[in-house]
């Protein structure tokens, strides 16, 4: 379980990986929120392509980030959800809060900031 954070211009991309459950969500949340504070993005992309399991704790994670980004006048995009995670997303109606996309491109930029945070906590 972990998150890799990439900030490009006004976009912050969080590439999540591993199992997302209540146990791991706390750390993911903390890491993403710190990156939001530091980079003040107008769009937060949550990339689920490397997520292997997710229960409603992952929905809580999306909803919580939506609240934070909304307060700051920004948006949340949910990207690349594997089939089984898409199912959890659909049940939760998260599509009302976040844009759901299959693909995305990050803005190219000379100045790019990559923060890699790998939580090895199982």
């Amino acid at each position: 379980m972990g998150v890799e954070l990439i900030s490009r211009g006004k976009v912050l991309c969080a590439r999540l990986s591993g199992d997302i459950d209540h146990h791991g969500a706390k750390e993911l949340r903390r890491d993403i929120d710190i990156a939001i504070e530091e980079n003040c993005p107008s769009e937060l992309i949550l990339d689920f392509s490397a997520v292997t399991f997710m229960d409603s704790s992952g929905i809580g994670l999306v909803m919580g980030r939506y609240k934070l980004m909304n307060e700051r006048g920004g948006t949340v995009t949910v990207a690349k959800t594997p089939a089984y995670i898409g199912k959890v997303m659909r049940v939760s109606g998260v599509g009302k809060l976040a844009k759901i996309v299959n693909e995305y491109t990050l803005p190219k930029e000379d100045e790019q900031e990559v923060m890699k945070i790998e939580t090895t906590n199982q």
């Binding site: 199992d19 459950d21 209540h22 146990h23 969500a25 949340r29 399991f53 997710m54 229960d55 409603s56 704790s57 929905i59 809580g60 994670l61 909803m63 919580g64 089939a83 089984y84 199912k87 959890v88 049940v91 939760s92 199982q122």
Partner: protein, 147 residues
Amino acid sequence: MKRPINDMKVVFPSLSENERFARIAVSGIVSLADPKIDELADIKTAVSEAVTNSIVHGYPETVGKIELTVRLYEDSTVYIKVSDKGCGIEDVQQAMLPLFTTRPDEDRAGLGFAVMESFMDKIKVTSKVGRGTTVVMHKRITPKERK
């Protein structure tokens, strides 16, 4: 329903790292019946929800015991029971409403029961304040063709 062809009972403490362990244990038994990948994912998710609820809500301040029972029946029905002896639920019907949560601070979405209901065929919740909560779920799986 007839006698189970296989079953398992696990007891473990309400530590959040055991959410993962509960999923592994349930996969271990259910996968013996050769379910389809998405059926196994549904069951793992439902178990993860129920066990997380016991950890987060059942024993909010303490560490207590959680009991997980899994039974496989000959007709490919999976029976799952998750129970705790925690604080219990005052109004079960209200608790089961989508988006209802008593812990919004903790980023709980209030969708645990909604996920269990839509991923399993049947769910029954019994609870008594101060005594604990029991969630029983059933799901019929499609075993892969055996040679």
